[in-house]
Structures are given as structure tokens and as C-alpha cells.
């Protein structure tokens, strides 16, 4: 089997045998979204206006929570060293790991979002657009996140540093994605926002694996 597929399979297998690392961010996502109606107001008119923003902020923080696990274990046990020493392309190996990360965090978030949208009285059109923006942008979150994760992989208790590094890069995605949903609720066109998110995805897909590979090599010193 192809080594890149094998890396993907290995990461999925490790994660499924140690499910707390995936379930923690997802539970955080569900709990934080479901607390908003209690804290702000249970009224449909209020909640449906801020629903997209809440779900997007929560999913972004959930991804951020899960990023530490991306390289940490493989760094500790020396598998990353073997990946660097192998003759295969390190950026592509990293891309397989990022894809596994997206399958384990991005996909569940996308699948949970309609349910949480219903909690917050988001209408059908809004839910549809929310899912499209999540589908377009959660891969970018994993890709950009991998840059931060690879930079701080050797540092203990690096959670704070990771958020400081990564959150500013996430902000444009947050702005365009949540504005797409709220504009769609008013019946306005949202092509611009979707194109922007797609552009961000292509850009991060092309650059993040290479930048992460360089950062990992430096961290392995």
C-alpha cells in the first residue's frame, strides 16, 4: 500500500484506539454552543441572528484544542524522526496526517452543525450555507493549524503560544464564513465570501504542508 495512505490509516487507527483525544474537542464544541441559549436568551429571534457566529467561533476553538495532538505523540515517540529520515516526501506525509486530523475533527463538526443550528433556530437556508462554509473552511483550519502545531511541537505546555500563533490567521476565515451565513439569511448573494474561503483553502493547501515540514525539521533539533 502507498505510504501516504498507510500514514493516514495509522493516524486514524491510533486516534480510534485512544478516542478521548478526538472526543474532547467535539464535546467542547457541543457543550459551548448549547450553553449560549441559557446565557443569552432562549428567544428564536435573538438566537437565529447570532447562531452562525456562535457555531463558527466554537468550531474554531474546538479545532484549536485538537491541534496539539496532531504531531505531539509522534514527536515524543520518535516516529517523526523516522518520517524525516525516510526517503518519502515529508510535506506529503504531513498532508496525510493533516487529512487524518480533518477527518477526525472537521467532518464530525460539519455533521454536528445542522443539529446545533436547529438548537439555535437557524433556518434551513442558513443551515445549508453554514455546512457549505464549514466544508470549505475546516480543511483550511487543519492546514493552517498544522503550521502552528509543528512550530511548537517541542515546547512543553504550548497551548497558549499555539493560540497566539494561529488565531490571527483564523480570523479572516471566521469573518467571511459567518458573514456568508448571516447575509444568506437576508437573502443576499454570498458568492464573494465562498470564493474567498475557497481561495484560502487552495492557498493553505499549497503552502501549509511545506511550511510545516520546514518547521518540523527545526523543532526536531
Amino acid at each position: 500500500m502507498n505510504i501516504y495512505l498507510q500514514t493516514l490509516k495509522r493516524d486514524l487507527r491510533v486516534a480510534l484506539r485512544n478516542p478521548s483525544s478526538i472526543l474532547n474537542p467535539l464535546l467542547f464544541f457541543i457543550i459551548s454552543v448549547s450553553l449560549f441559549p441559557l446565557a443569552i436568551s432562549p428567544e428564536a429571534a435573538v438566537l437565529s441572528q447570532i447562531a452562525a457566529g456562535i457555531i463558527w467561533v466554537a468550531s474554531m476553538l474546538a479545532v484549536l484544542l485538537s491541534l496539539n495532538a496532531l504531531f505531539h505523540h509522534d514527536f515524543e515517540n520518535g516516529v517523526l524522526e523516522q518520517m524525516v529520515a525516510s526517503h518519502h516526501s515529508l510535506p506529503l506525509l504531513i498532508l496525510s496526517k493533516i487529512f487524518a486530523h480533518w477527518l477526525l475533527t472537521g467532518i464530525p463538526i460539519i455533521l454536528l452543525s445542522p443539529l446545533l443550528g436547529l438548537f439555535l433556530f437557524l433556518d434551513d437556508e442558513g443551515i445549508k450555507i453554514l455546512m457549505i462554509t464549514l466544508l470549505l473552511a475546516t480543511p483550511s483550519l487543519s492546514l493552517i493549524g498544522s503550521i502552528g502545531a509543528s512550530l511548537v511541537v517541542g515546547i512543553k505546555n504550548s497551548g497558549m503560544l499555539l493560540s497566539l500563533l494561529i488565531l490571527p490567521l483564523y480570523i479572516p476565515i471566521l469573518i467571511f464564513a459567518s458573514s456568508a451565513v448571516s447575509q444568506a439569511q437576508f437573502g443576499l448573494t454570498i458568492d464573494g465570501q465562498l470564493y474567498f474561503l475557497a481561495m484560502f483553502l487552495v492557498l493553505s493547501l499549497m503552502s501549509a504542508p511545506f511550511v510545516s515540514a520546514i518547521a518540523l525539521k527545526i523543532s526536531l533539533e
Binding site: Q6, V14, N77, V79, E81, Q82, S86, H87
Partner: protein, 200 residues
Amino acid sequence: MPSLVIHNLSCQRGYNQLFSNLFFQVNVGEVLRITGTNGSGKTSLLKILAGVSVREHGEISWNQHSVKSEKYQQEVFYLGHQAALSGELSSLENLEFLSALNKSTDQQQLIQALGDIGLKGYEDEYCANLSAGQKRRVILAGLFVSKAKIWLLDEPFTALDPTGVKIVESRIEKHCNNGGLCLFTTHQDSALANQRVLAL
């Protein structure tokens, strides 16, 4: 005859110059034992030769292919301090991935290699449940099935019992007789034939 050529290599870590102007050559069939006090740069040297390090100056080549090129990395197997095993995977699953990272080997061969090194019956055991010596044996099994010519072994004998040490030594000899070469670090004396010593 192909050989590993190190030309004017230096390495600095922090404010310390670990070694500088290192020139040597290791031919096929030779074993080079690297000795030195703690912190003298043995591990750093092996990491540099494995293409894992970025903090060196100088030239390293194998058959005209320089370090970090695909052709060079194909020929290298690096055994580091850490076991390179995930506790959540069984020894066979770990070994499958490791051997795929180098050059893929079929499952039957891997099971055979695990048996040869004394881990028969442990194929499906999670690596988290293995002892330090057994973990070391799993990755050594990966070394023995690899087709790499250049073996870079960092303290290959740690955590191994005397029979384990014997197995590794005989495998190193066999590898060198079959057209490979081996560089390893150790603090113990070793009875390997055809051995040179590099003191850092």
C-alpha cells in the same frame, strides 16, 4: 566500491562547538564505532548523517549522492534513542508502518523477523504493554528487514539482554558481509570484527 564520505563536517549546538573539520570515510563492509563522553556529539553526528539535522556544515555523500537527497535517504536506516513505536498499535502494525517508511516489506517477512529476534507470539500485543527491551527488539526487527545499506544505530544495545546483544552483533556482521556498512555509538566494548573506532 561505494562508501560513505564525510568531508569537513562541523556541528554547533547552542554555544558549544561539538566537533569541527571532521573528515572520514566508511567503506562497504566496515563497522565504525563512535565513542566519546556524554555530550560529545555522538547522537548529533548520527542525526546529521541520517539527514534529520539541519544544523551542520560540511559535505556528506554516499555514491556521489549527497545527504537529504532521495537516493541517499533510501539507503539509510536510522535507529534513534526513542523506540519510534506508538503504544496504541500492536508490534506488527508498528513494524508495518516503519518498514513502509523505509522500503515496504511483506507481512510474512515481518512476522518472521519478529520471531527471529525473540518476539514470537507478541505480534498482536500493543506496544504500550511491552518492556523497554522488547520495544527495542521491535524496531531492531524493522532494521533487520530493511534493505538500507547504511545502518546508523544510536546505542543499539541499550535495554537489551546478553542474548539480544549477541543477535544484534551477529546481524551487524552479516549486514557488513552482504555489502552494507554500519555506524553505531556505544559506551560498551564490542567484539565486532572489522571494526574501527572514531573517538569524538
